[in-house]
Symmetry: C2
Subunit: 348 residues, 2 copies
């Protein structure tokens, strides 16, 4: 399941760099756009890459623990927000419309029965996870189904001509789940505290944050020390995080460009990365979320995000806002004149 | 000439904030986009603002001092790059095409005779400034003509339906001119060194930077202590900076949204700001340039830019990349559902 993923072949890098450096601009002056152009060229193994049918896939799921006070919003907001996305009223709809990005919502495990909708992909594992406060969030079978369904949906998306996918999520309580996973995957091993990767999510006040931390600490004690990333996903959830991890692995296998959003999406990437580190080669990091654990994740992965808009909304909104930058990078590589072609004098 | 500019009327701010906070998202979770939405709403004095015919205006001019080794490129690159823009081969062309932004180049004083072109506005004051190393860059009359021509071109642009203008520039040697102006306008008064606001421009090496610094220090000594911003512009140029300053003042007068690019554009804004501080209310700061003086300028103005793409290209490329963010901000304010309209449960 985690095979078929290779690191980027960098043999084209010198030729790509020459092409970038001959454009009519001071060498290096397009900064991060030049790094994007290089990465996209290497992913696609061409000097003339393209962004085709860019798409945001929002993975939605419910968390049993959300009924125990780990979020500022009640659990039903998950399905209500999915419905809001389906009728075009959420932030991610607005951004995708303005930026010409396709959008679909994947029901990975929302506690609600949706009527059929062309914008909704039914990949529901169960109506929400169990509460990790008292038991594992899902079974090994549920987890494996989630991982493989994520891959299947990406395979279909790629078959429809998309080569650039942004990841988003919706799920009341999923920042708590992401904190547990991030803590166990990376920060616990370096002696970091759970509090360093657990934030206010959608807007907990001080008392709420204290309660969330206490419940998460109890859950870590209950779960015991788990090193295996697959066991961790089953222990703490959620379905949308597991499905995203599977989707990311398949995206890289399809040689797509992965546009990574904020804290919860990067948690799914940490899972994918633990299973197949090569996935990182295919990723662009859209933005820095305000959720404190995201900084810890980005540092662990050794990556710098493109944007810092001080956002913490989720839904893939950061990924959507980064898409024009990816397109600008590919655009300059393909369309700018060279010093020679434009008859512009080079540096003295 | 500098009258008719008023500070923003903020009486609509509470109502705008309520509208922003009722959108289906955690309060504050769209970060800087919420600040943009607020500012644009106040500029346009409406709860339903709009971005109409966004446009980048690139002001081009030559600098006499460029013949004395203050740039990594020879002076003829100014007109060659203007021609490159006119045929669509520069970075700013690519970005404007991809992002649906209008583009025009204003010849404020390039040392070249251009044939007529629909993308070129002939506002030439003279074929380049005199070298400030030995004499003032321009006469008071030339400066005043530049300021007023900038205003006239913006008035025409606004009459064609544009309400959002990004500023860009092209001019070999203009980062040196910008360093002199920035030093005299802000950093010298705080005991700052010229070296703190003078960088490598389009790509000087260490020896080149030393030479540039020496020539600029000589020029400051020759010019003597000048406090008047208008005298400073005449002393150190350039035509494109003076014309941009006039254009900015008129843009604010027309209640347009000003999208400010990097170091040279912000220098023009410092001039405009010294003449009419209210201009700042109408500005959005697109990006943080790699040119070190830009950081000093942004701190002086007390503003934070939207992007940090590690760019230092000019041409208004940073302003162009920020346009989708401005449109996303206005889009969410107009198009997102509210908790009530979408039937989404609010915070517990």
């Amino acid at each position: 399941m985690y095979s078929g993923l290779t690191s980027l072949d960098c043999s084209l890098a010198p030729e790509l760099q020459r092409k970038i450096d001959k454009k009519t601009k001071p060498v290096g002056s397009l900064g991060k756009l030049e790094e994007i152009a290089m990465r996209v060229g290497l992913i696609q193994q061409t000097l003339e890459p393209s962004i085709l049918a860019p798409h945001i896939m929002v993975f939605a799921g419910d968390h049993g623990a959300a009924r125990h006070g780990i979020s500022a919003y009640p659990q039903e907001v998950t399905w209500q927000m999915v419905e809001n996305i389906l009728v075009g009223g959420a932030a991610i709809n607005v951004f995708c419309r303005h930026l010409g990005i396709g959008l679909s919502v994947v029901d990975a495990g929302v506690n609600h029965h949706f009527t059929a909708n062309p914008g909704l992909i039914d990949a529901k594992i169960a109506p929400g996870t169990a509460s990790y406060i008292s038991q594992p969030a899902m079974s090994a079978t549920e987890r494996d189904t989630a991982l493989s369904r994520g891959g299947e949906e990406i395979h279909k998306l790629a078959a429809r001509g998309c080569n650039c996918v942004g990841f988003g999520e919706m799920g009341i309580g999923n920042s708590a789940s992401a904190s547990l996973l991030t803590h166990c995957l990376i920060s616990d091993k370096k002696g970091g505290q759970l509090a360093g990767v657990a934030g206010r999510g959608a807007g907990l006040d001080d008392a709420g944050l204290d309660r969330k931390l206490r419940l998460l600490e109890e859950s870590v004690i209950r779960g015991g020390r788990i090193n295996d990333p697959l066991k961790l996903v089953a222990e703490y959830g959620g379905f949308e995080i597991a499905m995203m991890a599977g989707a990311m692995l398949q995206s890289a296998r399809e040689r797509m460009i992965l546009v990574i959003d904020g804290f919860i999406v990067t948690t799914a990437l940490l899972i994918a990365h633990a299973l197949a580190p090569e996935v990182l080669d295919y990723c662009l990091f859209a933005h820095r979320s305000q959720e404190p654990g995201h900084r810890v994740q980005l540092e662990y992965l050794g990556v710098k995000p493109l944007l810092d808009m001080e956002m913490r909304l989720g839904e893939g909104t950061g990924a959507a806002l980064a898409m024009p930058l990816v397109q600008a990078a590919v655009g300059f590589l393909n369309e700018m004149a060279s010093f020679e072609s434009a008859g512009v004098h080079e540096k003295i």
